[in-house]
Amino acid sequence: MRLIRCNIMNFGTLCDFHYDFSEGINRIVRGNGFGKSTLAAFIRIMLYGFEGEGKRDSLSRERKFYEPWQGGNYGGDIEFSVGEKCYRVTRTFGKKADSDTFELRDMRTNLVVGDYSERLGIELFDMDSDTFRRTVFVGQDGMETSVNDTINGRIGALVDNTDDLDAYEKAKASLEEMINSLTPRRKTGEVSKLTERITSLEADILPAGELEKSMESILEKRNAEEENLRQLREEKDRLATKAKELGAYMEIETGKERYEKLLADRDIKAKELEEYRKELPKGADINAFPDSSELRTLAQNHMKAASELSGTRLIDLTDREEESRLRLRALYGNDDPTETAEKYIALWRDIKEREREKIGKEEIYGKAEDEMLRETAIGNKYRGICLAIALIFLISGVVLFMTTDPIWPGLAACGIALICVIFSVVLTAPHRSAAKQRNKERDILKRDINLINERISSVNSEIGDFLRKYDKDTDPDMIPVSLRDIINEREMLLGLESKKNRAKEAADKAKESMDGINSFIREKAGYVSEDPAVQLQHLADVSDKAKGVLRSYEEILVSIKEFESENDIEAIRNTDVPKTDESLADITSRLKEVTELEEESSKRLSSFDKRNDELAQNLDEIAEKRIERDRLKDIRDEKQKAYDCCVIAKEHLVNAKETLSSRYIKPILDKFMYYHTMITGQNTREYMVDANIDVSVREQGMNRSVMQLSKGLRDVVGLSLRMAFIDVMFPQEKPVLILDDPFVNLDRTNLDAAEKLMRIIAKDYQVIFFAAREETEQQIEI
């Protein structure tokens, strides 16, 4: 591959910059600030694109770093040849990757071609940007280099497949990670953790033997207790059987005693019954004899009747009352004057009312008479006056008529006299009429008064006759009192007679009751004592006792009958309880004792079972832990096996890598020594290259890191190693070498040698060489 030309539109400090590259060495010697490193970076970026795209730091992020100072899009193109073909790659860069453009044209046809993509560098050199930096591109950051997986793979061209060489570091790291995670050497390792857990479980399992011993011991005790319980149960059964046998005998004995007692009781009751029979009428049926309650009720009734009989004297008439009753009965006989008397009282009240009416009428009569007289007097008075005046005027008229001529005065006077006569008639007429009316009223009143008087007289006469019949005061003022006396006396008579009748009825009833009870007593007891109530009480007592004794007697007879029907009396009488060492009481007591012992034994047995259950549970837990331990052991063994395998695998992988590397170490070392000797002009130091292509120098019998050499010598080592890599990596199509001021650390001797080296290299490689120092250019030109 060879660069032909570059055109920079805008890129960092460079703007509208063009450069034609020649074959061999291209010396670009400019002062500081020209943009030499920018140009070197431009070439790299045109091949690989920007680095540090994800970084925020503008110095690390190339896109930002090389943004033109004047802003806007930036980029450019590079023309290059590969084999026989020439291409122009044009890239423009924006703020972000997605605004970048890429174009590749075939220089001969000027057509866009797809021979290479944006990954131009990778596709041209078959190496990534990192490898590019470690080999053909020497930046300002130094000449030193080392291998990566790609370089390893490329320089391992002697091997068939470099993919796994590329993956070596990752594989080794993966195995180491696995080894670390599993390691039994550290507490954090899984095997170690499992071992710890297993140890802990084994500590838990350890008491299993003790527990089993305890369990066996408890089982022995339990079995002994079980045997004890069995014996106790046998003893209990034996005692129970014996008690049952003795019980049977005792039952017969008890029955015998009971039978004899029944017979004795029967005789006693029969005697008692005989005694009670004497108290009762001969041949009386005790069962049919009245109950004590009935007899006591009768006794109470008798006492009550006797009390009632004596009490009738208190409610009967007193002598005085009887005397009054007899007097009144004689006076009134069978009459009942009450109604008549009440009628007369009403009549008398009416008469009194009439009398008050009569008095009123008499007053009105007097007034009417006075009125009549007064009206008559007034009429007479007015008539006299008028007639007197008429007479005067008549006389006067006559005189005048006679004396005077004109006659009219006389006529007038006669006329007035006439008028007066008329006037007298007119004036007296009402008074006469009124007097007449009053007279008429007076006559009517007089007649009414007379009628009332007649009525009063008639009634008084009638009441007087009535009162006199019952010997009562007939004085008119006393009439109502007398009439009320008759009514009262009649009521009194009735009351007295009623009282007398009630007393008689009560006495009769009590007597009748007593007679009935006495008849009952006579019927039941054959006689009536002086105090029948006491006699009845006594009979009640006798009845009670006799009936009780009779009931007991009959019950005993029933019991005897039942017993005789249920038992063989003859056999019972002839059975004797066998004599034994242990009485039934002893056996019962012993049975109770054994039962208690059995209960205690059962409790102990339960306690053993419970304890055994607990131990069994503990043993179960231990068994589970044992299983868990075994499971963990299996897992640990697996992990340990995996660990061992990983350790061995890592060891052999490293060995394999070293074995493989050894195949290309020598070519690398040879190339390295070739270039190193060419630069330094001497071969005095002994350099070593290991399987990892790490260069060391052997001095005073020891391998020393090149880092211990001076910076200048390190650069020589770096350049030699880079050239060794490049030679091995690019046996066919040679890449372009880009060196950005690489020899600043070399001394004059080495600088000369380096420049000489460049000239030799330039025979096979195109070299783009940037330098700031003039003498470098001059030296190279030499």
Binding site: N161, Y168, L175, E226, I648, A649, A656
Partner: protein
């Protein structure tokens, strides 16, 4: 007459080797429930007797739940006679602490005990100890006119042995035995004893682990007393099965193709969601094959009640094909191959780790 013959119920087993704590608890309850179901089956199918030929319980000390469950089941089927012969796991006297043993429960001891089940059927039983096991057959006295059923708990053997739990079958030949109801072996076996009788192990009622895989249940004997014949039928009764599936993954180089192979094999085994499945990967895969056991396990763990994956497959490596390989891998494989300190089995593992690392795969 119909009789159930069962054995090795192993109530109160730990079960923690296959199940976690909660699942082990559930499985324990299932064992008890299956025993109770068997008694219900007996009640519903006209069974007149149940022979329990040992190891009803798994340990000396049993839980109250198991004891009460068994007693309750026996008492709730009073018409059925239960003959219980203790095994090597049973405690010496499981029912000793009971104040009253169920009336329909018949026990045996360390001398021959016989019960007359009917006029013609007699049940004999002997619980082994270190003394009586050797002379067991010699001390058995039977009536040839009876139908004789003998209950024992021990390992079958055709020769004499000093081990307590061994039944020398030869010694029981020609002892008028019509049926030997045995217990101790956890899988079903029914074989001829002699010209007259057969011996039978019903196996355990429920499998408890992958070493007890397959069908489990009990045997129903149908005895015709007139014809003097004893017919037996194995009844599958377990609530779930343990199934072992071997999958040869030779030639398979990807996890998904291995999953497919496992799926085909488990489907072919008839495993259902109710079953416990153990898959063992066998065969050889290429050293560069992509095989992820965790992904395989995850794929199946919810498909079954319990899923276990055991990868017993090995890697195959053709060293010859790498002999001329001048790559790092070739160099690495040759280096491992030529390492005399690494065993051949381990070499494949080491190479696999190295190659996985080089391929950038997760180790």
């Amino acid at each position: 007459m119909k009789i159930i013959h069962c054995a090795d119920i192993h109530l109160d087993s730990g079960l923690s080797s296959n199940f976690d704590k909660e699942k082990a608890k559930e499985r324990k309850a299932e064992l008890l429930r299956t025993f109770v179901r068997m008694t219900e089956y007996a009640g519903e199918h006209g069974i007149e007797a149940v022979l329990i030929a040992g190891d009803l319980f798994d340990r000396d000390v049993i839980s109250a739940t198991s004891r009460n469950g068994v007693i309750g089941a026996i008492e709730s089927t009073p018409g059925i006679k239960y003959f219980y012969l203790k095994g090597n796991h049973d405690r010496k006297d499981v029912f000793g602490s009971l104040s009253e043993i169920p009336k329909n429960l018949y026990l045996f001891n360390e001398t021959w005990t016989s019960y007359e089940l009917s006029e013609k059927i007699r049940i004999y039983g002997l619980e082994f100890n270190s003394v009586n096991s050797a002379s067991a057959a010699d001390t058995l006295v039977t009536d040839p006119s009876d139908i004789n059923i003998v209950m024992l708990h021990g390992q079958e053997s055709m020769s004499a042995s000093d081990k307590t739990e061994v039944i020398n079958l030869k010694s029981f030949r020609n002892r008028n035995i019509d049926y030997m109801a045995l217990g101790h072996i956890h899988s079903y076996k029914n074989a001829e004893l002699d010209g007259r009788g057969r011996y039978c192990y019903p196996g355990c009622l429920e499998g408890r682990g992958f070493d007890e895989s397959g069908e489990h249940g009990f045997v129903v004997l149908d005895i015709d007393e007139d014809r003097r014949s004893v017919a037996s039928e194995f009844i599958t009764f377990a609530s779930r099965r343990f199934i072992n599936v071997d999958v040869d993954i030779t030639g398979l180089d990807k996890t998904n193709t291995i999953i497919k192979a496992v799926s085909e094999k488990t489907d072919a085994s008839g495993a259902t969601t109710n079953d416990c499945v153990r898959v063992v990967l066998t065969g050889r895969t290429d050293i560069e094959a992509e095989k992820n056991d965790a992904v395989i396990s995850k794929t199946f763990e919810n498909r079954y009640c319990l899923f276990r994956l055991y990868d017993e497959s090995a890697f195959s490596i053709d060293y010859e094909s790498y002999s001329a390989d001048r790559s790092l891998k070739g160099e690495f494989i040759r280096a491992v191959k030529n390492d005399p300190t690494v065993s051949e089995d381990k070499k494949a593992e080491v190479i696999r780790y190295g190659i996985k690392a080089l391929l950038g795969e997760e180790l």
